[in-house]
Symmetry: C2
Subunit: 230 residues, 2 copies
DNA sequence: GACAATCAGATTGTCGACAATCTAACAAGA
DNA sequence: TCTTGTTAGATTGTCGACAATCTGATTGTC
Protein backbone atom coordinates (compact mmCIF):
# COMPACT_ATOMS: atom_id res chain seq x y z
CA UNK A 1 0.00 0.00 0.00
CA UNK A 2 1.28 3.42 -0.96
CA UNK A 3 1.51 5.93 1.86
CA UNK A 4 1.96 9.20 -0.04
CA UNK A 5 -1.23 11.09 -0.69
CA UNK A 6 -1.84 13.12 -3.81
CA UNK A 7 -4.07 16.15 -4.01
CA UNK A 8 -6.34 16.52 -7.02
CA UNK A 9 -4.57 18.01 -10.00
CA UNK A 10 -5.45 21.52 -11.06
CA UNK A 11 -8.45 22.22 -13.26
CA UNK A 12 -6.95 22.92 -16.62
CA UNK A 13 -9.86 24.46 -18.44
CA UNK A 14 -9.71 28.03 -19.61
CA UNK A 15 -13.03 28.57 -17.92
CA UNK A 16 -11.63 27.78 -14.48
CA UNK A 17 -8.72 30.12 -14.97
CA UNK A 18 -10.97 32.89 -16.18
CA UNK A 19 -13.19 32.46 -13.13
CA UNK A 20 -10.17 32.79 -10.87
CA UNK A 21 -8.88 35.86 -12.71
CA UNK A 22 -12.21 37.65 -12.71
CA UNK A 23 -12.95 36.79 -9.10
CA UNK A 24 -9.63 38.16 -7.99
CA UNK A 25 -10.12 41.34 -10.00
CA UNK A 26 -13.50 41.89 -8.41
CA UNK A 27 -12.55 41.03 -4.85
CA UNK A 28 -9.48 43.23 -4.88
CA UNK A 29 -11.48 46.14 -6.22
CA UNK A 30 -9.75 46.29 -9.60
CA UNK A 31 -13.20 46.13 -11.08
CA UNK A 32 -15.44 48.67 -9.42
CA UNK A 33 -18.97 48.00 -8.19
CA UNK A 34 -21.51 48.71 -10.88
CA UNK A 35 -18.95 48.47 -13.63
CA UNK A 36 -19.99 46.74 -16.82
CA UNK A 37 -17.98 43.82 -18.14
CA UNK A 38 -17.61 44.03 -21.91
CA UNK A 39 -17.35 40.47 -23.22
CA UNK A 40 -15.51 41.22 -26.44
CA UNK A 41 -12.96 43.47 -24.81
CA UNK A 42 -12.20 41.09 -21.94
CA UNK A 43 -12.01 38.04 -24.21
CA UNK A 44 -9.51 39.84 -26.43
CA UNK A 45 -7.42 40.89 -23.45
CA UNK A 46 -7.35 37.35 -22.13
CA UNK A 47 -6.84 35.87 -25.60
CA UNK A 48 -9.78 33.50 -25.29
CA UNK A 49 -13.06 33.27 -27.10
CA UNK A 50 -16.29 34.51 -25.59
CA UNK A 51 -17.67 31.03 -24.89
CA UNK A 52 -15.53 30.13 -21.86
CA UNK A 53 -15.64 33.74 -20.70
CA UNK A 54 -19.42 33.77 -20.73
CA UNK A 55 -19.56 30.46 -18.86
CA UNK A 56 -17.20 31.88 -16.27
CA UNK A 57 -19.38 34.94 -15.89
CA UNK A 58 -22.47 32.79 -15.35
CA UNK A 59 -20.67 31.13 -12.46
CA UNK A 60 -19.79 34.43 -10.86
CA UNK A 61 -23.34 35.67 -11.28
CA UNK A 62 -24.53 32.65 -9.36
CA UNK A 63 -21.77 33.25 -6.84
CA UNK A 64 -23.36 36.60 -6.17
CA UNK A 65 -20.59 39.03 -7.11
CA UNK A 66 -21.84 39.73 -10.64
CA UNK A 67 -25.32 40.49 -11.83
CA UNK A 68 -26.68 40.01 -15.32
CA UNK A 69 -29.43 41.71 -17.31
CA UNK A 70 -30.37 39.98 -20.58
CA UNK A 71 -29.22 41.85 -23.67
CA UNK A 72 -27.93 44.67 -21.49
CA UNK A 73 -24.81 43.24 -19.91
CA UNK A 74 -23.14 41.77 -16.85
CA UNK A 75 -22.11 44.09 -14.03
CA UNK A 76 -20.17 43.98 -10.79
CA UNK A 77 -22.71 44.08 -7.98
CA UNK A 78 -23.38 47.35 -6.27
CA UNK A 79 -22.63 47.57 -2.59
CA UNK A 80 -25.21 49.17 -0.36
CA UNK A 81 -25.01 49.78 3.37
CA UNK A 82 -27.90 47.39 3.79
CA UNK A 83 -26.06 44.64 1.96
CA UNK A 84 -23.18 44.95 4.35
CA UNK A 85 -25.52 45.01 7.31
CA UNK A 86 -27.33 41.92 6.04
CA UNK A 87 -24.14 40.02 5.34
CA UNK A 88 -22.67 40.80 8.73
CA UNK A 89 -25.71 39.94 10.76
CA UNK A 90 -25.96 36.59 9.02
CA UNK A 91 -22.26 36.04 9.42
CA UNK A 92 -22.63 36.35 13.17
CA UNK A 93 -25.19 33.58 13.24
CA UNK A 94 -23.03 31.35 11.08
CA UNK A 95 -19.99 31.96 13.27
CA UNK A 96 -21.84 31.00 16.42
CA UNK A 97 -23.11 27.86 14.74
CA UNK A 98 -19.68 26.98 13.45
CA UNK A 99 -18.02 27.39 16.84
CA UNK A 100 -20.60 25.15 18.44
CA UNK A 101 -20.05 22.48 15.81
CA UNK A 102 -16.26 22.50 15.71
CA UNK A 103 -15.67 22.90 19.43
CA UNK A 104 -15.30 19.22 20.22
CA UNK A 105 -13.35 18.55 17.03
CA UNK A 106 -10.39 20.67 18.05
CA UNK A 107 -7.11 18.81 18.17
CA UNK A 108 -3.42 19.53 17.74
CA UNK A 109 -3.74 19.86 13.99
CA UNK A 110 -6.41 22.49 14.46
CA UNK A 111 -4.31 24.47 16.90
CA UNK A 112 -1.32 24.33 14.58
CA UNK A 113 -3.35 25.55 11.63
CA UNK A 114 -4.84 28.29 13.78
CA UNK A 115 -1.37 29.55 14.67
CA UNK A 116 -0.24 29.28 11.09
CA UNK A 117 -3.07 31.42 9.78
CA UNK A 118 -2.74 33.88 12.62
CA UNK A 119 0.92 34.26 11.79
CA UNK A 120 0.05 34.87 8.13
CA UNK A 121 -2.18 37.78 9.12
CA UNK A 122 0.53 39.29 11.26
CA UNK A 123 3.05 38.92 8.48
CA UNK A 124 0.78 40.64 5.97
CA UNK A 125 0.20 43.43 8.48
CA UNK A 126 3.92 43.92 8.98
CA UNK A 127 4.34 43.98 5.19
CA UNK A 128 1.66 46.67 4.89
CA UNK A 129 0.08 44.47 2.18
CA UNK A 130 -3.56 45.40 2.65
CA UNK A 131 -4.95 43.04 0.03
CA UNK A 132 -3.16 40.09 1.52
CA UNK A 133 -4.13 41.27 4.97
CA UNK A 134 -7.80 41.00 4.08
CA UNK A 135 -7.28 37.62 2.48
CA UNK A 136 -5.43 36.13 5.42
CA UNK A 137 -7.78 37.58 8.01
CA UNK A 138 -10.72 35.96 6.25
CA UNK A 139 -8.81 32.70 6.02
CA UNK A 140 -8.18 32.83 9.75
CA UNK A 141 -11.83 33.42 10.30
CA UNK A 142 -12.76 30.61 7.94
CA UNK A 143 -10.95 27.97 9.93
CA UNK A 144 -13.84 27.42 12.31
CA UNK A 145 -16.13 26.83 9.36
CA UNK A 146 -13.76 24.37 7.78
CA UNK A 147 -13.58 22.41 11.02
CA UNK A 148 -17.31 22.40 11.67
CA UNK A 149 -17.57 19.42 9.34
CA UNK A 150 -20.66 20.73 7.59
CA UNK A 151 -20.24 21.12 3.85
CA UNK A 152 -23.33 23.27 3.42
CA UNK A 153 -22.19 25.64 6.13
CA UNK A 154 -18.75 25.92 4.62
CA UNK A 155 -20.15 26.61 1.18
CA UNK A 156 -22.50 29.23 2.57
CA UNK A 157 -19.73 30.91 4.49
CA UNK A 158 -17.50 31.02 1.43
CA UNK A 159 -20.23 32.75 -0.53
CA UNK A 160 -20.58 35.30 2.23
CA UNK A 161 -16.84 35.71 2.35
CA UNK A 162 -16.66 36.76 -1.27
CA UNK A 163 -18.86 39.72 -0.51
CA UNK A 164 -17.14 40.59 2.73
CA UNK A 165 -13.81 40.53 0.99
CA UNK A 166 -15.16 42.84 -1.69
CA UNK A 167 -16.55 45.24 0.86
CA UNK A 168 -13.31 45.25 2.82
CA UNK A 169 -11.29 45.87 -0.30
CA UNK A 170 -13.37 48.93 -1.13
CA UNK A 171 -13.06 50.08 2.42
CA UNK A 172 -9.30 49.82 2.38
CA UNK A 173 -9.00 51.36 -1.04
CA UNK A 174 -11.03 54.33 0.07
CA UNK A 175 -8.82 54.97 3.06
CA UNK A 176 -5.64 54.38 1.13
CA UNK A 177 -3.79 52.90 4.07
CA UNK A 178 -3.25 49.76 6.05
CA UNK A 179 -5.32 49.42 9.10
CA UNK A 180 -5.84 47.17 12.07
CA UNK A 181 -3.28 46.95 14.79
CA UNK A 182 -1.33 43.74 14.66
CA UNK A 183 -2.93 42.28 17.74
CA UNK A 184 -6.56 42.51 16.69
CA UNK A 185 -7.01 38.77 16.51
CA UNK A 186 -5.02 37.83 19.62
CA UNK A 187 -8.05 37.49 21.87
CA UNK A 188 -10.03 35.62 19.24
CA UNK A 189 -7.28 33.05 18.75
CA UNK A 190 -6.74 32.70 22.49
CA UNK A 191 -10.43 32.03 23.10
CA UNK A 192 -10.53 29.40 20.36
CA UNK A 193 -7.73 27.62 22.18
CA UNK A 194 -9.44 27.86 25.56
CA UNK A 195 -12.21 25.96 27.29
CA UNK A 196 -15.08 28.43 27.34
CA UNK A 197 -17.15 27.94 24.23
CA UNK A 198 -19.76 30.54 25.16
CA UNK A 199 -17.03 33.13 25.64
CA UNK A 200 -15.62 32.35 22.22
CA UNK A 201 -19.02 32.72 20.62
CA UNK A 202 -19.62 35.99 22.42
CA UNK A 203 -16.28 37.38 21.36
CA UNK A 204 -16.74 36.36 17.76
CA UNK A 205 -19.93 38.36 17.75
CA UNK A 206 -18.42 41.40 19.40
CA UNK A 207 -15.23 41.34 17.39
CA UNK A 208 -17.20 41.35 14.22
CA UNK A 209 -19.28 44.22 15.47
CA UNK A 210 -16.14 46.27 15.81
CA UNK A 211 -15.00 46.01 12.21
CA UNK A 212 -18.57 46.28 11.17
CA UNK A 213 -19.19 49.70 12.58
CA UNK A 214 -16.29 51.10 10.66
CA UNK A 215 -17.31 49.38 7.45
CA UNK A 216 -20.91 50.48 7.75
CA UNK A 217 -19.83 54.07 8.21
CA UNK A 218 -17.90 53.83 4.97
CA UNK A 219 -20.84 52.21 3.23
CA UNK A 220 -23.16 55.02 4.23
CA UNK A 221 -20.67 57.34 2.60
CA UNK A 222 -21.04 55.35 -0.61
CA UNK A 223 -24.79 55.76 -0.50
CA UNK A 224 -24.47 59.47 -0.90
CA UNK A 225 -22.02 59.23 -3.81
CA UNK A 226 -23.40 56.32 -5.85
CA UNK A 227 -21.33 54.65 -8.55
CA UNK A 228 -22.04 55.78 -12.05
CA UNK A 229 -21.77 52.20 -13.31
CA UNK A 230 -25.34 50.90 -13.29
CA UNK B 1 -48.14 59.30 -10.29
CA UNK B 2 -49.20 55.91 -11.58
CA UNK B 3 -50.57 53.51 -9.02
CA UNK B 4 -50.49 50.23 -10.93
CA UNK B 5 -47.44 48.10 -10.26
CA UNK B 6 -45.78 46.02 -12.94
CA UNK B 7 -43.78 42.91 -12.33
CA UNK B 8 -40.56 42.45 -14.29
CA UNK B 9 -41.18 40.93 -17.70
CA UNK B 10 -40.08 37.37 -18.28
CA UNK B 11 -36.48 36.62 -19.12
CA UNK B 12 -36.61 35.77 -22.78
CA UNK B 13 -33.28 34.08 -23.22
CA UNK B 14 -33.10 30.41 -24.03
CA UNK B 15 -30.61 30.07 -21.21
CA UNK B 16 -33.13 31.15 -18.59
CA UNK B 17 -35.72 28.71 -19.87
CA UNK B 18 -33.23 25.89 -19.94
CA UNK B 19 -32.24 26.62 -16.35
CA UNK B 20 -35.87 26.46 -15.29
CA UNK B 21 -36.48 23.22 -17.19
CA UNK B 22 -33.40 21.50 -15.83
CA UNK B 23 -33.96 22.70 -12.29
CA UNK B 24 -37.47 21.40 -12.30
CA UNK B 25 -36.36 18.05 -13.70
CA UNK B 26 -33.77 17.70 -10.97
CA UNK B 27 -35.89 18.88 -8.07
CA UNK B 28 -38.78 16.62 -8.98
CA UNK B 29 -36.51 13.64 -9.25
CA UNK B 30 -36.94 13.16 -12.99
CA UNK B 31 -33.18 13.23 -13.18
CA UNK B 32 -31.71 10.89 -10.62
CA UNK B 33 -28.84 11.74 -8.28
CA UNK B 34 -25.52 10.83 -9.81
CA UNK B 35 -26.93 10.77 -13.30
CA UNK B 36 -24.79 12.21 -16.04
CA UNK B 37 -26.17 14.96 -18.29
CA UNK B 38 -25.17 14.39 -21.88
CA UNK B 39 -24.91 17.79 -23.53
CA UNK B 40 -25.48 16.72 -27.11
CA UNK B 41 -28.48 14.58 -26.31
CA UNK B 42 -30.17 17.20 -24.13
CA UNK B 43 -29.49 20.03 -26.56
CA UNK B 44 -31.07 17.99 -29.37
CA UNK B 45 -34.09 17.16 -27.25
CA UNK B 46 -34.58 20.82 -26.35
CA UNK B 47 -33.80 21.96 -29.91
CA UNK B 48 -31.13 24.41 -28.78
CA UNK B 49 -27.40 24.55 -29.33
CA UNK B 50 -24.94 23.49 -26.67
CA UNK B 51 -23.84 27.05 -25.83
CA UNK B 52 -26.90 28.19 -23.84
CA UNK B 53 -27.28 24.69 -22.41
CA UNK B 54 -23.74 24.73 -21.10
CA UNK B 55 -24.20 28.19 -19.62
CA UNK B 56 -27.36 26.99 -17.91
CA UNK B 57 -25.51 24.01 -16.51
CA UNK B 58 -22.79 26.25 -15.09
CA UNK B 59 -25.45 28.16 -13.21
CA UNK B 60 -26.91 25.01 -11.73
CA UNK B 61 -23.47 23.79 -10.74
CA UNK B 62 -22.98 27.00 -8.81
CA UNK B 63 -26.46 26.60 -7.40
CA UNK B 64 -25.27 23.36 -5.88
CA UNK B 65 -27.55 20.81 -7.51
CA UNK B 66 -25.17 19.80 -10.29
CA UNK B 67 -21.50 18.97 -10.10
CA UNK B 68 -18.98 19.17 -12.90
CA UNK B 69 -15.75 17.33 -13.62
CA UNK B 70 -13.68 18.79 -16.48
CA UNK B 71 -13.68 16.61 -19.60
CA UNK B 72 -15.71 13.99 -17.76
CA UNK B 73 -19.15 15.52 -17.55
CA UNK B 74 -21.77 17.21 -15.43
CA UNK B 75 -23.77 15.15 -12.95
CA UNK B 76 -26.73 15.52 -10.65
CA UNK B 77 -25.35 15.74 -7.12
CA UNK B 78 -25.40 12.63 -5.00
CA UNK B 79 -27.39 12.72 -1.80
CA UNK B 80 -25.76 11.37 1.31
CA UNK B 81 -27.24 11.10 4.78
CA UNK B 82 -24.65 13.56 5.96
CA UNK B 83 -25.68 16.10 3.36
CA UNK B 84 -29.22 15.98 4.61
CA UNK B 85 -28.06 16.21 8.18
CA UNK B 86 -25.86 19.20 7.36
CA UNK B 87 -28.58 20.99 5.42
CA UNK B 88 -31.16 20.50 8.13
CA UNK B 89 -29.01 21.58 11.01
CA UNK B 90 -28.10 24.76 9.17
CA UNK B 91 -31.71 25.29 8.21
CA UNK B 92 -32.68 25.31 11.86
CA UNK B 93 -30.26 28.12 12.56
CA UNK B 94 -31.49 30.13 9.60
CA UNK B 95 -35.12 29.65 10.64
CA UNK B 96 -34.46 30.92 14.13
CA UNK B 97 -32.63 33.91 12.75
CA UNK B 98 -35.38 34.64 10.25
CA UNK B 99 -38.13 34.49 12.87
CA UNK B 100 -36.23 36.91 15.05
CA UNK B 101 -35.78 39.32 12.19
CA UNK B 102 -39.29 39.22 10.76
CA UNK B 103 -41.16 39.16 14.06
CA UNK B 104 -41.72 42.89 14.33
CA UNK B 105 -42.42 43.25 10.64
CA UNK B 106 -45.58 41.17 10.73
CA UNK B 107 -48.66 42.99 9.54
CA UNK B 108 -51.97 42.18 7.91
CA UNK B 109 -50.38 41.52 4.54
CA UNK B 110 -48.08 38.99 6.15
CA UNK B 111 -50.93 37.19 7.88
CA UNK B 112 -52.93 37.07 4.65
CA UNK B 113 -50.01 35.63 2.72
CA UNK B 114 -49.42 33.13 5.50
CA UNK B 115 -52.98 31.91 5.21
CA UNK B 116 -52.80 31.83 1.45
CA UNK B 117 -49.73 29.62 1.42
CA UNK B 118 -51.08 27.42 4.16
CA UNK B 119 -54.23 26.93 2.15
CA UNK B 120 -52.13 25.99 -0.90
CA UNK B 121 -50.44 23.23 1.07
CA UNK B 122 -53.75 21.86 2.26
CA UNK B 123 -55.14 21.95 -1.26
CA UNK B 124 -52.15 20.04 -2.65
CA UNK B 125 -52.53 17.51 0.13
CA UNK B 126 -56.20 17.00 -0.66
CA UNK B 127 -55.28 16.58 -4.32
CA UNK B 128 -52.70 13.93 -3.43
CA UNK B 129 -50.25 15.90 -5.58
CA UNK B 130 -47.03 15.05 -3.80
CA UNK B 131 -44.77 17.19 -5.97
CA UNK B 132 -46.92 20.25 -5.47
CA UNK B 133 -47.23 19.38 -1.81
CA UNK B 134 -43.49 19.65 -1.37
CA UNK B 135 -43.34 22.86 -3.36
CA UNK B 136 -46.08 24.57 -1.40
CA UNK B 137 -44.81 23.41 1.97
CA UNK B 138 -41.41 24.91 1.20
CA UNK B 139 -43.06 28.11 0.03
CA UNK B 140 -44.96 28.29 3.29
CA UNK B 141 -41.73 27.82 5.15
CA UNK B 142 -39.98 30.40 3.02
CA UNK B 143 -42.33 33.19 4.00
CA UNK B 144 -40.44 34.00 7.18
CA UNK B 145 -37.27 34.36 5.18
CA UNK B 146 -38.90 36.63 2.65
CA UNK B 147 -40.17 38.86 5.44
CA UNK B 148 -36.90 38.98 7.35
CA UNK B 149 -35.78 41.75 5.00
CA UNK B 150 -32.30 40.33 4.58
CA UNK B 151 -31.40 39.59 0.98
CA UNK B 152 -28.39 37.48 1.84
CA UNK B 153 -30.44 35.33 4.19
CA UNK B 154 -33.15 34.88 1.58
CA UNK B 155 -30.64 33.89 -1.06
CA UNK B 156 -28.97 31.45 1.29
CA UNK B 157 -32.27 29.90 2.26
CA UNK B 158 -33.27 29.49 -1.37
CA UNK B 159 -30.08 27.62 -2.07
CA UNK B 160 -30.74 25.35 0.84
CA UNK B 161 -34.30 24.89 -0.32
CA UNK B 162 -33.22 23.51 -3.66
CA UNK B 163 -31.49 20.67 -1.92
CA UNK B 164 -34.22 20.07 0.57
CA UNK B 165 -36.76 19.91 -2.23
CA UNK B 166 -34.60 17.40 -4.02
CA UNK B 167 -34.23 15.26 -0.94
CA UNK B 168 -37.95 15.38 -0.26
CA UNK B 169 -38.77 14.43 -3.82
CA UNK B 170 -36.56 11.36 -3.59
CA UNK B 171 -38.10 10.53 -0.29
CA UNK B 172 -41.61 10.74 -1.63
CA UNK B 173 -40.74 8.86 -4.78
CA UNK B 174 -39.28 6.05 -2.74
CA UNK B 175 -42.40 5.65 -0.65
CA UNK B 176 -44.72 6.00 -3.62
CA UNK B 177 -47.45 7.67 -1.65
CA UNK B 178 -48.63 10.98 -0.31
CA UNK B 179 -47.73 11.67 3.23
CA UNK B 180 -48.24 14.17 5.96
CA UNK B 181 -51.60 14.61 7.58
CA UNK B 182 -53.31 17.78 6.46
CA UNK B 183 -52.83 19.53 9.79
CA UNK B 184 -49.08 19.25 10.06
CA UNK B 185 -48.52 22.97 9.73
CA UNK B 186 -51.46 24.16 11.86
CA UNK B 187 -49.39 24.74 14.98
CA UNK B 188 -46.59 26.39 13.06
CA UNK B 189 -48.94 28.86 11.41
CA UNK B 190 -50.76 29.55 14.66
CA UNK B 191 -47.51 30.33 16.47
CA UNK B 192 -46.41 32.70 13.72
CA UNK B 193 -49.64 34.59 14.25
CA UNK B 194 -49.23 34.68 18.02
CA UNK B 195 -47.21 36.79 20.43
CA UNK B 196 -44.58 34.38 21.71
CA UNK B 197 -41.54 34.60 19.49
CA UNK B 198 -39.47 32.14 21.49
CA UNK B 199 -42.23 29.57 21.23
CA UNK B 200 -42.35 30.01 17.47
CA UNK B 201 -38.61 29.54 17.23
CA UNK B 202 -38.73 26.46 19.41
CA UNK B 203 -41.52 24.92 17.38
CA UNK B 204 -39.81 25.61 14.09
CA UNK B 205 -36.88 23.69 15.41
CA UNK B 206 -38.92 20.78 16.69
CA UNK B 207 -41.20 20.63 13.70
CA UNK B 208 -38.23 20.38 11.42
CA UNK B 209 -36.77 17.65 13.57
CA UNK B 210 -39.88 15.63 12.97
CA UNK B 211 -39.67 15.54 9.19
CA UNK B 212 -35.96 15.23 9.49
CA UNK B 213 -35.94 11.93 11.34
CA UNK B 214 -38.03 10.32 8.66
CA UNK B 215 -35.92 11.76 5.88
CA UNK B 216 -32.68 10.75 7.51
CA UNK B 217 -33.89 7.20 7.88
CA UNK B 218 -34.57 7.13 4.17
CA UNK B 219 -31.19 8.63 3.42
CA UNK B 220 -29.42 5.95 5.42
CA UNK B 221 -31.20 3.46 3.22
CA UNK B 222 -29.69 5.16 0.19
CA UNK B 223 -26.22 4.82 1.67
CA UNK B 224 -26.45 1.08 1.50
CA UNK B 225 -27.67 1.07 -2.10
CA UNK B 226 -25.60 3.80 -3.73
CA UNK B 227 -26.54 5.16 -7.12
CA UNK B 228 -24.59 3.75 -10.02
CA UNK B 229 -24.36 7.22 -11.61
CA UNK B 230 -21.04 8.63 -10.44
C1' DG C 1 -38.07 73.78 -29.72
C1' DA C 2 -40.42 69.33 -28.57
C1' DC C 3 -41.46 64.93 -29.96
C1' DA C 4 -41.79 60.59 -32.55
C1' DA C 5 -39.82 57.60 -36.21
C1' DT C 6 -35.80 55.80 -38.16
C1' DC C 7 -31.34 54.06 -38.53
C1' DA C 8 -26.42 52.83 -37.62
C1' DG C 9 -23.30 51.07 -34.37
C1' DA C 10 -22.21 48.34 -30.60
C1' DT C 11 -23.13 44.44 -27.63
C1' DT C 12 -25.22 40.27 -26.15
C1' DG C 13 -27.32 35.67 -27.38
C1' DT C 14 -27.02 31.62 -30.22
C1' DC C 15 -25.26 28.47 -33.59
C1' DG C 16 -22.47 24.89 -36.03
C1' DA C 17 -17.82 23.11 -36.53
C1' DC C 18 -13.33 21.87 -34.87
C1' DA C 19 -9.80 20.72 -31.17
C1' DA C 20 -8.61 18.51 -26.84
C1' DT C 21 -9.49 15.00 -23.73
C1' DC C 22 -11.37 10.88 -21.78
C1' DT C 23 -13.01 5.92 -21.86
C1' DA C 24 -13.03 1.35 -22.96
C1' DA C 25 -11.69 -2.31 -25.82
C1' DC C 26 -8.05 -4.75 -27.74
C1' DA C 27 -3.27 -6.30 -28.62
C1' DA C 28 1.49 -7.26 -27.15
C1' DG C 29 4.84 -8.57 -23.98
C1' DA C 30 6.70 -10.05 -19.37
C1' DT D 1 -2.50 -13.72 -15.80
C1' DC D 2 -1.25 -9.24 -15.17
C1' DT D 3 0.48 -5.10 -16.90
C1' DT D 4 1.36 -1.77 -20.47
C1' DG D 5 0.76 0.42 -25.06
C1' DT D 6 -2.37 1.52 -28.78
C1' DT D 7 -6.39 2.95 -30.98
C1' DA D 8 -11.26 4.17 -32.14
C1' DG D 9 -15.26 6.26 -30.56
C1' DA D 10 -17.71 9.36 -27.83
C1' DT D 11 -17.93 13.56 -25.16
C1' DT D 12 -16.46 17.89 -23.45
C1' DG D 13 -14.01 22.40 -24.30
C1' DT D 14 -13.22 26.17 -27.43
C1' DC D 15 -13.58 28.93 -31.49
C1' DG D 16 -15.30 32.22 -35.08
C1' DA D 17 -19.42 33.81 -37.37
C1' DC D 18 -24.18 35.15 -37.50
C1' DA D 19 -28.77 36.66 -35.41
C1' DA D 20 -31.34 39.29 -32.03
C1' DT D 21 -31.55 43.13 -29.19
C1' DC D 22 -30.39 47.51 -27.19
C1' DT D 23 -28.65 52.45 -27.24
C1' DG D 24 -28.21 56.97 -28.94
C1' DA D 25 -27.90 59.99 -32.53
C1' DT D 26 -30.19 61.82 -36.49
C1' DT D 27 -33.88 63.23 -39.13
C1' DG D 28 -38.34 64.86 -40.10
C1' DT D 29 -42.69 66.78 -38.57
C1' DC D 30 -45.71 69.66 -35.83
Amino acid sequence: MVKTEFSPIADTTRRAEIVALLRRAILTGQLEPGQKLNELRISEQMRVSRAPLREAMRELVQEGILTSIPYAGTFVINVTAKDIDDAYSLNKVLDEFAIERMWKQRDQRFLDELDRRHEAVKQATRDRDTTRQIETALQLHGLIHEWADNSVLLETWQRLTSRLQMYFALHQQARKEAVPAENVHETYVALLKGDDMRAAQRHAREHIDLDFEELLAYARGLERRPSKGA
